[in-house]
Amino acid sequence: MAARDQHGVGAPFGEFHVVGKPQRKVDGLAKATGTALYTDDIVLPGMLHAKTLRSPHPHARIVSIDTTRARALPGVHAVITGQDMPIKYGVIPWTPDENALAVDKVRFIGDEVAAVAAVDEDTANAALDLIDVVYEVLPAYFDPRQSLEQGQAAPIHAGKKGDNVSKHVSLDFGDVDAALAAADVVLEGEYRFHGSTHGAIEPHCAVARYDADGLLTLWSATQITHYVHRALSSVLELAPERIRVVQPCLGGAFGGKSDPFSLEFCVAKLAMVTGRPVKMLWTREEVFYAHRGRHPMQMRYKTGAMRDGRITAVDAKILIDGGSYSSFGLVTTYYSGQLLTGPYAFPSYRFDSTRVFTNKPPCGPKRGHGSVQPRFAFEVQLDELAAQLSIDPIELRRINFLGEHTQTVNGQRITSNGFMQCLDLVERASGWKERYGKLPRGRGLGVAGSMYISGTNYPIYPNDMPQAGIQLKADRSGLVTVFTGGNDIGQGSSTIVAAIVAEELGMDVRNVRVVAADTDLCPVDLGAYSSRVTFMVGNATIDAARKLRGKVVTAVAEKWAVDERRVRLMGGKAFDLDDPARVLSTREAFQLAEVRFDTLGATGSYNTPTLGGDYRGGTIGASPAYSFTAHVVEVDVDEETGRVTVHKVWCAHDCGRALNPTLVAGQIEGSCYMGIAEALLEEHDVNRFGLHAGPSLLDYRMPTALDTPEIEAFIVESLDPEGPYGAKEAGEGPLHSSIPALGNAIYDAVGIRLRELPFTPGKVLRALREQRAARPNAATTAAGTASQRVAHDRRRDG
């Protein structure tokens, strides 16, 4: 099958002309000049505005809902409740536990209960006050352990064996117990990762129109058009071919727009009920309730190693706070264990992960889905191991390097691996050898490494169709239009698609137009998640472009009566290699091809090869290629205030070939920023009543330009045999190791080991107090090198 062919890592002809060079984005100037259309910019004639009534209780049974008074308000056109859309859905087909509007129960403060469509927002808001809901309040659980142990009293979801377990995964590889017993050292520690959320600046928004001929169109700020399409069809009981889903320009997502959301069903249903277009724009507060952000995790890690630093065993037990619904939780639970098995070789490995429901906003996929938390825990534990064995932390990571073209302990195939180059680069750039352990007390360096998937061969719902499809239309004007289901969420996937087409057809990239993420026009793509788009859509694009190129070359060769191998497409022209005087423009070449082959186009696709371990769940986290990252972070720790200031971040990321290095650098820098932000400033949590602790961009403290440290990004290009021209992912991997590198830098600075995020001044001061109490003689002096501190720690630890 063509879709599974590899296309090679090289340029189609000799050297690259577009790919690999900094290029403007296809939509850059439209965004810069304010003409790009986002979902809330859409205004349709006669459009109504919708608003959502939300639960004031974290856990309650709905006794009754009376919408009579709301319906009677002048200007109100429709009020809907859960009874209007009782079919459950869930992005993972095995765990459909969500309703567009609550049917029988509400499960967190902010859960959707009813929706109103009215002539304007003020009227819709006023109508919400007139909906009478009677609740029977139930016990609520905000702590996952409490939910696990006491949840039988009021299970959050019915039919889950009466407990509050959302998903449990336990897998082991090799003989962990024997390896631990044989290890020279065994480290054990408990680590905690807090909740954080995406914070895309564009709030969720959806607009629906239901035409008289029964066609439903939904414009939505989603990053996965295809899954929204499927969910709408199911919940609204409409045939999928009667539904069109369009993703307009999208104002950021980071995983937060991956699930189908209540507002998408509500505007669709309200449009069907009223015969009018309907828009719903969530407030920033509502976006915090929608959440689907990073799962809080409590993680116990045990690592065995030999005296020379080689890891022998890793044993993990993880409790995951899932919030109130499943979302992607099945995958999260697997990812929490499956994605840790590189860039280091584990001879044996075991993990036991339990995701538990709580009465909080539902967690889901945030950049680095499911694997940022375990990466934090493990990389801090590696740093502890380095200290205990008196091995340089970078050296310890080299000692355990997994290698390339190999396999992980859990059966994942590793192709290219530039992790060693990443380590070299951050070591050199940060002056590690000269400075680590030698900086004055209060300043420190920390290192960490990580790996991440470039898409996964688990297609959410089982099917053997391609994961990515591309359609090309070549026009006699010399224009190529690309139709892709791939969601450009700001990462620049449409720009990459255009570059590939231009490269393969030897065209000016400005003559390639991209139509994306419109289910009526574009072939299916599984959407922007799991860092799959560049890899999979890129491969599909090469597939299609080469087919189109073949037609053009054939037509030109026939016209010139020469062998096809003599025809080159380059620089907007078709050349004869043996007779440079013979030349046609792209436009003329397309016209010849249209004469020869009829209306000119091509399709292409990509599907993953069969991957993953041969066990239940073995395909989850199995990727055709993995990216690798190394970070060094330099911090200042103020021992008076406990405040941690990141001085600089060095990040080297192996993304295979950088198809557009400007975009890659943007992904690396944005990832580093986001990691540092959640490590130091951001926290998504509820208070003891289950009420969100601060659902605003003032309370949820996202860094400004002044708060963000200097970031130096290095692009490492270990050309991957599976990737398009050797490319891998860049959007999520570079977040992972920023957080543990920061924690490890705090240790180098002041000798305290922070195992619980975020690293707030309070936690720093508490740890410093404990340090002073444990070491009354050594502590408060400002002197003392890191090596002395290591020695102190070792004495203290016995």
């Binding site: 984005k25 810069a32 986002y38 004031p56 009227t123 407030t283 290095p661 650098a665 920023y673 990004a713």
Partner: protein, 219 residues
């Protein structure tokens, strides 16, 4: 508890916010008055409810959707416009209070640049595009207007001055690095110099593994 309704546009629903009575509910029928705003060089006559913000009138009455709403309460800066040349949060300013003032939105920069004899986009817009500062692009209209206002009063700002001037505009995509590079590029080029080099670099390309074959990955 004040939270059963979270449709409110203004603020945390559990804090005191305006509650509309049944009588005043039909916003479009109540308190709507004509209003004339000078935006991007033109006088626009329209009508809007008294309580509508400048952002609402720009977006939903004048169709100038380049100004974005990210929080509607002055936290994110995506709605930043220039009022008499100063950056202002359009979501915190009643439209009525902009009467008699000169408003510039992101849509106004390119036409002004062309009218002044330039071509293409405003140099700030162009530099943002070239430097990769536009990922999702949602915060950038406000960001670019903040940058424009800075350069109008300080033609050669330091990096810290740029960071301070942009610190009211949250960006979630870029980590600000390419934004700062874009502003510095626009400044340098306005002075006839070359912009700063990017903060990223390429490492040496590792050798391609000789056995770059792909098996099925099964153990």
């Amino acid at each position: 508890m004040g939270l059963p309704r979270s449709g409110a546009r203004h603020g945390h629903a559990s804090t005191g916010k305006k509650v509309l009575t049944r009588q005043s509910a039909i916003g479009t029928m109540h308190g709507v008055r004509p209003i004339t705003l000078e935006v991007n060089g033109d006088a626009h006559a329209t009508a809007a409810p008294d309580h509508w913000t400048l952002l609402e009138v720009l977006r939903y009455k004048l169709g100038l959707t380049g100004s974005k709403q990210g929080c509607d309460k002055g936290d994110c800066g995506a709605c930043t416009v220039l009022v008499d040349g100063q950056p202002r949060l359009a979501c915190l300013m009643l439209a009525r209070h902009a009467v008699g003032h000169i408003v510039t939105t992101i849509e106004g920069l390119r036409p002004a640049h062309i009218a002044a004899g330039g071509s293409g986009a405003d140099p700030i817009q162009d530099a943002f595009d070239r430097c990769g500062a536009l990922q999702c692009g949602f915060c950038q209209p406000g960001m670019m207007l903040s940058a424009r206002a800075l350069l109008a009063r300080t033609p050669e700002p330091s990096r810290h001055e740029i960071q301070a001037a942009l610190s009211g505009n949250l960006c979630r995509c870029t980590g600000y690095t390419q934004i700062l590079q874009a502003v510095e590029t626009a400044i340098a080029e306005s002075l006839g110099a070359e912009g700063p080099s990017a903060a990223w670099q390429r490492g040496p390309v590792p050798p391609v593994h000789p056995t770059g074959e792909v098996g099925d990955g099964r153990p």
